[in-house]
């Protein structure tokens, strides 16, 4: 039993190997070799030479080894034109089988195609989200919040909204409309620090960012969200250097750990009360979020 499990794990490992494209490359090599006898023109021709010089994984591997800068942003394996050559090869196999009425070769092609699909593995993944809907594939509730803010801006005659909200919400907001000016951008803090722009933010902003992240964290350690939201509202209100007109807050729930493992929801935090008592007005709310606006000049 253990052996079966072990072999299954090994099979699973190969099925999920990221470098599966090496297998595909070997297949394309094998099939091209198969044609060595009959298709000299094809093999020596422009296509195959180009393939080996530029578009095969081996070349990409050597390129990256010689010029490490190429892999600085991402591996350039997407250049490999393996599918094109595998499919041309498969067609040529079929062509020969047709010509010579060789059913063994035809069967071989079938097996080859099966292997090809096995090696190439899983279908291209797509996360289910209706793209034709009004949300453009973005989180539906985030879009509701964006619309609330934009409608409020229009009412107040504002041209831009300095906003602060959940990480993912901020990440997408400038995609939705560039009239949003998130205090921090996408993957905000780490990204900025990595690029050496950390000095762009004041210590207060850094502190608030950390604070908000803790507040956002649902599965974090035992924490008093009630106190957190009070402090956050106070700090945002008092520190006017943090340009933040609109604040989007999750309707927080306080958590406690059940037997040290399971996280249980305990009680809704009074986010509304915390902000409304501190110079903020409510712009609107959705199922999970509140939107507040800091009154100007106060």
């Amino acid at each position: 039993m253990a052996e079966i499990k072990e072999s299954m794990e090994l099979g699973y490992y190969f099925m999920n190997l990221e470098d599966k494209y090496w297998g595909l490359f070997l297949i394309s090599l094998a099939v091209l070799f198969f044609f060595l006898g009959k298709k000299k023109g094809f093999l020596l021709g422009y296509g195959v030479l180009s393939y080996f010089f530029l578009l095969c994984p081996l070349t990409v591997f050597l390129l990256v080894k010689c010029f490490p800068a190429l892999s600085l942003y991402y591996p350039i394996r997407w250049l490999c034109q393996i599918p094109l050559f595998i499919c041309i090869a498969a067609v040529l196999v079929l062509e020969r089988a047709d010509k010579e009425q060789d059913w063994k070769k035809l069967f071989g092609t079938g097996a080859f195609l099966f292997l090809m699909v096995f090696l190439s593995g899983t279908p291209v993944f797509m996360e289910k989200a209706p793209a034709w809907s009004s949300s453009f594939g973005l989180n539906q509730e985030y879009v509701q919040v964006y619309d609330l803010v934009l409608a409020d801006m229009e009412g107040k005659g504002l041209e831009k909204a300095h906003v602060w909200g959940p990480k993912d919400w901020m990440k997408d907001c400038r995609v939705y409309s560039a009239d949003f000016y998130p205090v921090y951008g996408k993957d905000i803090w780490e990204e900025q620090a990595a690029l050496g722009y950390e000095t762009a933010y004041s210590d207060t902003q850094k502190m608030l960012y950390e604070f908000y992240s803790t507040y956002e964290s649902v599965k974090g350690p035992l924490s008093n969200k009630w106190q957190q939201v009070e402090v956050l509202a106070d700090t945002l209100n008092l520190n006017t250097d943090v340009a933040c007109d609109y604040v989007v807050m999750h309707r927080g729930t306080d958590h406690w750990k059940d037997r040290g493992v399971k996280v249980k929801r305990l009680k809704k935090v009074d986010v509304e009360g915390a902000f409304l008592s501190r110079n903020y007005e409510e712009v609107g709310k959705t199922e999970n979020y509140y939107v507040f606006y800091r009154r100007a000049g106060e």
Partner: protein, 365 residues
């Protein structure tokens, strides 16, 4: 529904989709008429090669105009208007080409030739199955979005151009507007072009243009270009159907790596690097091959012009396209020298890279 600059309702959206179709498909096909004499030599792929050629010519023009505007710190809207003018002018030139083509096609001997050469795709079960798979892929893309963190940057750049009327200045990640965009992104104008498409389509959101319309219009084009390329190496015209079937099938199971070419074609054809690998590279590869096949330099010239446009369009698609083009041309030249031994064509090959050398010099020096 509010977003950058407009309100959406159903009637308005139909009009917007119509406009987007006009700019993304009709204009490129009309523009392709400029090179109809060259394209008609491979009649089976006339629609694909015309659309590819038109697209590449439009991208090249946009790239040059965008570079000038970036250097002069010009207005994004003015850039779009200039592009509209240039694009319509090219389409008009193409219309003359198409007109002359259809006049010639009416002649009886041409009709006969056409019937003789015709590949009856509708009678080929392999082709129909392959086309069905491609259609299924597009349907899946349309019904199920492909969320991508890169939206925050690329589509963010588009929405910034629209809001602030500039051409690629600050990073889209940051609301503080003080992080200048990296040089490598400045050299590729695709996000700005997508913002222009938003304007030209009556403010259809760039997310719809990228995630829905790019796959809808350009996935068939990419498959067509690959078929055109593969057709050169297959013996019988009936092989095309088999190739398409295998190729589409392999792509559906191409998730062996997040950066696999299959994954790129299906999930993110709207991104520059994916567009380069699925449209730019097959286009350049095909026409460079055709250029080397020509007997005289005079015959080869239009092909080399198309290659030059293809290389510029690759630079437009992404900075990777810009620097890898040198490798593509060099390797192709080497392979052709070995196979065809036409030394003089190397001069054309080198000349086709001159616009890119100029682009790189402007930004790197």
């Amino acid at each position: 529904m509010y977003f950058t600059g407009g309100q959406v309702n159903d009637v308005n959206m139909i009009f917007q989709y119509g406009l987007a179709f006009f700019w993304m498909c009709v204009i490129p096909i009309l523009t392709g008429g400029i090179f109809i004499k060259v394209l008609v030599k491979h009649r089976r792929f006339l629609a694909v090669s015309a659309m590819g050629t038109g697209l590449v010519l439009n991208y090249s023009v946009y790239q040059i105009a965008a570079m000038v505007f970036i250097l002069l710190d010009g207005s994004f809207r003015l850039l779009t208007w200039i592009y509209i003018g240039a694009s319509l002018f090219m389409a008009l030139l193409g219309v003359f080409g198409w007109y002359r083509y259809f006049q010639k096609e009416r002649k009886p001997e041409k009709q006969e030739e056409k019937c003789r050469d015709a590949y009856k795709w509708y009678k080929d079960p392999y082709f129909l199955m392959g086309a069905g798979l491609v259609a299924a892929q597009i349907l899946v893309i349309l019904l199920m979005s492909t969320p991508d963190k890169d939206d925050a940057f690329y589509t963010g750049l588009s929405s910034m151009c629209l809001s602030h009327d500039y051409v690629l200045k600050y990073s889209a990640y940051d609301g503080l507007m003080q992080m200048p965009i990296e040089t490598r992104y400045i050299m590729a104008a695709l996000p700005v072009y997508q913002a222009s498409l938003c304007l030209m389509s009556g403010r259809l959101h760039t997310l719809i243009i990228c995630h829905n319309l790019y796959p809808l219009f350009y996935m068939p084009l990419a498959y067509g270009l690959y078929c055109m390329l593969a057709d050169k190496w297959m013996e019988k015209k009936e092989d095309l159907g088999r190739f398409l079937l295998f190729f589409a099938f392999l792509h559906m199971f191409g998730n062996y790596y997040v950066f696999s070419p299959e994954n790129f074609l299906i999930t993110r054809i709207w991104q520059g690097k994916a567009l380069f690998i699925t449209i730019g590279l097959p286009f350049v590869w095909y026409f460079m091959n055709r250029a080397w096949e020509q007997e005289s330099l005079k015959e080869a010239l239009p092909y080399w012009i198309l290659v030059t446009a293809g290389l510029l369009a690759s630079a437009f698609m992404g900075e990777t396209g810009l620097y890898l083009n040198f490798l593509v041309v060099g390797v192709s030249a080497l392979a052709n020298l070995i196979v065809r031994k036409k030394w003089k064509n190397c001069i054309f090959a080198a000349c086709s890279l001159l616009p890119e050398v100029f682009l790189m010099a402007v930004f790197l020096l």
